[in-house]
Amino acid sequence: MSLITTILGRLVKAAITLLAIAVLNFFLIHAAPGDPAAVLAGEAGAADPLFIAQLRERFGLDQPLYVQLWSYVKNVLTLDLGYSFRQGMPVYDLIAQRLPATLLLTLSSFVISLSLGIAFGVAAAARVGKASDSVLTTIALLFYATPLYWAALMAVLVFSVQLGWLPGFGYETVGSGYSGLARAWDILQHLILPALTLGLFFMAVYMRMTRASMLEVSQMDFVKTARAKGLSGPVIRRRHILRNALLPVVTLAGLQAGQLIGGAVLTETVFAWPGIGRLMFESLEARDYNTILGVFLVSAAMVIVFNILTDIVYRIVDPRIGAKS
C-alpha cells in the first residue's frame, strides 16, 4: 500500500517536473544563436530575404515567442511532440525510428558493465591485497581514465582494421538482405564493439565501488557473527556482504540508467550507430527546435522513470528502507 502511494506521489511530482523541464528547454534552445531557417538558408549556398521569410513562416518562427511557447506547451500536454520541419517528419516518428537502436546499445552496455563490474568487484574484494586484486584494480583504473572517443577509435583500429574480427561501423550489414536469426547474429556482431566501449567506463566504476563497499561491509559485526556461526566464505560473501554492499552500486546504476537515451552520443558518432544521441546532436547543430525538444523531453522522462525504479529496487535489496519511511 505505502509503496503504491509513494509511487503515485512521485508520478505527480514527476509530471510537474517534466513540464518545468519542457519550458526551461524551450527557452534554452531559443537562447542559442541562429534558428532553423537561417541554418537551412546557410546550407543552400544562396539565399535572399524572401527565402528566409518563407521558411520562418512555414516553421511558425514569425510568431512572437510567447505564442510559440504556448503552442509548444499545449502540444506537450497532449503528448504531441510536434513536427520536424527539417526532416519533414513528426518528431514522434523520428524518435521512434531511432530509439530501438539506442536502447539496444545502451541496455546491453548497461547489463555488461553492471554484471562484469559487480563480478570483478566481488572477485577483487575476495582477493584483496593479492596480485590478482592489483591487476584487476589497475585495469579498472585504466578503463576509468581512458577517454571514450579514443577507446572507441582504438577498438575499431585493432578489432576491425587490423584483425578484421568485427565490423567497425553501423547497426547491420547494409544491403545484406538478412532476416530472422541471420539478421540478429549480424546485429549482434555490430553491437559488440560499441557496447563494450560504452560499457568500459561504468564497468570500472561499478567494480571499484563494489570492491570498496564489500571491503567496508566485511569488517562489520554481523559478518563476524556469520563467520562465528560457521557459514562458508562464499555464502557469507553472497548473502551477507554483497547484499549490503550493493546499495551504493544501485544508486549509481540508477544514474547510468537515466542516461540510457542521451548518454551515447560519442559512441554512436564513432561507430555510426543510428541512435537517438546522434539525432539529438545533429538536431542541435541544425537548430531543429521541435526534434531537440522532443529528445530532451523523452530523456528527461527516462531519468525520472529510472529514479522511481531505483527507489523500488532499493526496497527489494534492502527491505528496511520501505519500513522506515
Binding site: 537551412l40 538558408a41 543552400a44 575499431v156 576491425s160 547494409v174 558518432t269 539525432l279 547543430e285
Partner: protein, 516 residues
C-alpha cells in the same frame, strides 16, 4: 597479314573486355556527410542533398570539366544571334520514375512555377527571363529580357532540377508527402532511407540512355565521424569518399593505400573559393591599408602546403582560375611582413584587437585560423579567435557581427552567378551569409559588374571582368585565400566516376565497376 589479323583480334578483345565488365552491374557505397535533411532537390540545394539527389533528378544540360554545355534531358539547343532566345529540344522517350512521360510542360512548370517559388539562386537568374514557353511536347523556348551571358550555365541539376508537374502542380510544395519518396528522371530511383544509416538507390531500368546506368544499386552511407569515415574506406566498407569527407591529413595516407585512386576533378563548376570577409564598415578593417597589410602578412603558400597538405592554389583575386573570365593581371600579394608593417605604420594602427571567426567545418579550418592569427601577430596586429557552431557562424556573419570571418563561396561557373553577389552594393542586406557581407561599396565597379553580366559578347565580358579584377584586388574588400581542392578518393575499380564539372554530385550515370 597474320600480323594484321592478330592486331584486329587484339583490338576486338580489348574492346570487348571492358564492355562486358561494364555491363556487369554491381554496387557502390559512397560516404554522404552530413546526412541530408531532404532529397527533394527543388526544395533543398545543400551539398549532401545534391550528392544523392544528383542521381535522382536531372536538368536540361550537364557541363564538362571545361564547363562547356553537354546534352542531358535536352538533346540539342540553339541560342539566337541576339542572345535573347534559348530553344531546347528534349530527348525522346524520357519517363519519370513512376512511369509518366517527361514533356516540355514539366520544364515550364519546373522553371517558371516551382523553382521561382522555392529556389533563391534560380530566382535571381529567372529575373532576366521574360517568358518560358512550350511550342510542342519536345521543345522549350526561354525568352530573355536582356542578354545574360551566364544563362547557358543555369541548366544544371542543382540549379534547375526538373520537377514532375503531375505530382506537384497545385500542391503545397514544402509539405507534399511525395517529398519523402522523390520522383525524378535520373539514372537511379529512390528505394529506401534508413535515417542515420544509409540511403539506398536502385537502377532505373527505363532510363532513356541505352545501357545506362551500369550499376545495379548505390548506397549512400552516413558515417558522422571524420576518422571513422577514413577507416571505413580503409576496410573497404565504402568505395568512394567524395571531396571534403575526410580531414586533409588523412588524404595522403589513404591515397597511398593499394588500389586507391584520387582526383581533383569534378569541382570546376563549383570552384570553391576561400576568403575572409573583412568588415569594411567599422574597426581597423574599414581602412584599406589595414586590409592590404593583412594580405601581405599572410603566408598563404605555407597554409596551402601545411594546413591543406598541398591541395589547392593560392587565390589571386575574386575569380577562380578554374572558371572562365579569370585574369592574373592583378597586384600580387606575396608574403611580405615588412610591407605589412609599413602599411600598418602608415595608417597609424593603434593595436585595436581584431577577432577572427573560423568556419566551423572541422579541424582544417580551425588550424587555418590559427595560422592566420600567428601571421597577423607577427606584424603586430592583436588577434582573438572567436568560435561558433554552424548556426552561430551563420548568425554572426549574416548580422555583420565580426571583424574577419572565414568563408568559401561557390563560383557556379560564371562571375555573374557566383562572384558579383559578394561585391555589389545591391547585395548588401542583413540576414544572409551569401551576399555582400563585408559591406564593400563601389558604384563605379557596380556598373561594370552589371555591364559584364548582360553583355552578349564573350570578348567584351572578358575585357570588363579583367578590368574589375585589376581594380578590386587593390581595394581588398575581402582577403582572398585559396582555391580549395577537395580530392575525391575512390577504389580504383570504380571507373568513370567523375565525368563532369560537377563530379560525383552529378550522379553515377556513367560509373561502372571493373571486374577482376
Amino acid at each position: 597479314m597474320n600480323f594484321l589479323k592478330t592486331t584486329t583480334f587484339l583490338i576486338a578483345a580489348g574492346l570487348a573486355t571492358p564492355l562486358l565488365a561494364q555491363d556487369a552491374g554491381g554496387r557502390i557505397d559512397i560516404v554522404v556527410q552530413p546526412e541530408p535533411p531532404s532529397l527533394m532537390l527543388g526544395l533543398v540545394q545543400n551539398g549532401p542533398t545534391q550528392l544523392v539527389a544528383g542521381d535522382i533528378y536531372e536538368s536540361l544540360l550537364r557541363y564538362n570539366t571545361d564547363l562547356e554545355p553537354q546534352p542531358s534531358l535536352a538533346k540539342s539547343w540553339e541560342i539566337s544571334e541576339d542572345g535573347l532566345t534559348y530553344t531546347f529540344h528534349l530527348q525522346d522517350g524520357v519517363k519519370w520514375h513512376d512511369g509518366e512521360p517527361f514533356t516540355s510542360a514539366d520544364v515550364v512548370f519546373s522553371a517558371d512555377v516551382f523553382l521561382r517559388e522555392t529556389h533563391a539562386r534560380m530566382r535571381s537568374s529567372l529575373a532576366y527571363v521574360d517568358s518560358i514557353e512550350a511550342p510542342d511536347d519536345q521543345t522549350v523556348v526561354f525568352k530573355l529580357k536582356t542578354p545574360f551571358g551566364p544563362f547557358i550555365g543555369v541548366f544544371e541539376a542543382g540549379t534547375m532540377p526538373m520537377i514532375p508537374k503531375h505530382i506537384y502542380e497545385g500542391t503545397d510544395y514544402a509539405n507534399n508527402p511525395m517529398n519523402a519518396t522523390p520522383i525524378g528522371t535520373g539514372p537511379f530511383k529512390f528505394e529506401s532511407w534508413e535515417k542515420g544509416s544509409y540511403i539506398h538507390l536502385v537502377k532505373n531500368e527505363d532510363y532513356y540512355l541505352e545501357g545506362k546506368p551500369h550499376l545495379d544499386e548505390v548506397y549512400y552511407r552516413v558515417i558522422p565521424d571524420a576518422a571513422s569515415r577514413a577507416v571505413a574506406f580503409e576496410t573497404g566498407e565504402v568505395d568512394v569518399l567524395p571531396g571534403g569527407s575526410v580531414e586533409n591529413w588523412d588524404v595522403q595516407r589513404l591515397t597511398e593505400l593499394d588500389n586507391t585512386c584520387s582526383t581533383g576533378k569534378g569541382w570546376e563548376f563549383f570552384a570553391p573559393h576561400a576568403f575572409m570577409w573583412l568588415n569594411n564598415r567599422e574597426g581597423p578593417t574599414a581602412d584599406v591599408r589595414f586590409r592590404q597589410a593583412v594580405m601581405y602578412a599572410m603566408d598563404r603558400e605555407f597554409v596551402k602546403d601545411v594546413v591543406w597538405n598541398g591541395f589547392g592554389k593560392v587565390a589571386t583575386g575574386p575569380v577562380s582560375s578554374k572558371t572562365n573570365f579569370y585574369s592574373d593581371d592583378v597586384t600580387q600579394y606575396d608574403y611580405n611582413p615588412e610591407k605589412a608593417k609599413e602599411l600598418l605604420a602608415e595608417m597609424g594602427y593603434d593595436g585595436t584587437p581584431v577577432s577572427i571567426l573560423p568556419l566551423p567545418y572541422g579541424e582544417t579550418w580551425q588550424r587555418w585560423a590559427e595560422a592566420v592569427r600567428q601571421n597577423l601577430q607577427e606584424v603586430g596586429i592583436t588577434v582573438d579567435i572567436d568560435s561558433a557552431d554552424v548556426a552561430g557562424w551563420n548568425e554572426k556573419t549574416s548580422q555583420w557581427d565580426y571583424d574577419m570571418a572565414f568563408t568559401y563561396l561557390y563560383q557556379y561557373g560564371d562571375p555573374a552567378l557566383g562572384v558579383s553577389r559578394n561585391y555589389v552594393e545591391s547585395q548588401i542586406e542583413k540576414g544572409s551569409p551569401w551576399n555582400n557581407v563585408e559591406g564593400y561599396r563601389n558604384p563605379e565597379m557596380d556598373a561594370k559588374w552589371a555591364a559584364a553580366a548582360v553583355s552578349p559578347s564573350p570578348d567584351e565580358r572578358t575585357k570588363i571582368y579583367s578590368e574589375i579584377q585589376k581594380e578590386i584586388v587593390d581595394d581588398v574588400p575581402v582577403a582572398w585565400l585559396l582555391e580549395i581542392e577537395f580530392p575525391t578518393i575512390y577504389n580504383c575499380n570504380v571507373q568513370d566516376l567523375v565525368t563532369t564539372g560537377i563530379g560525383v554530385s552529378d550522379g553515377l550515370r556513367d560509373a561502372w565497376i571493373k571486374q577482376e
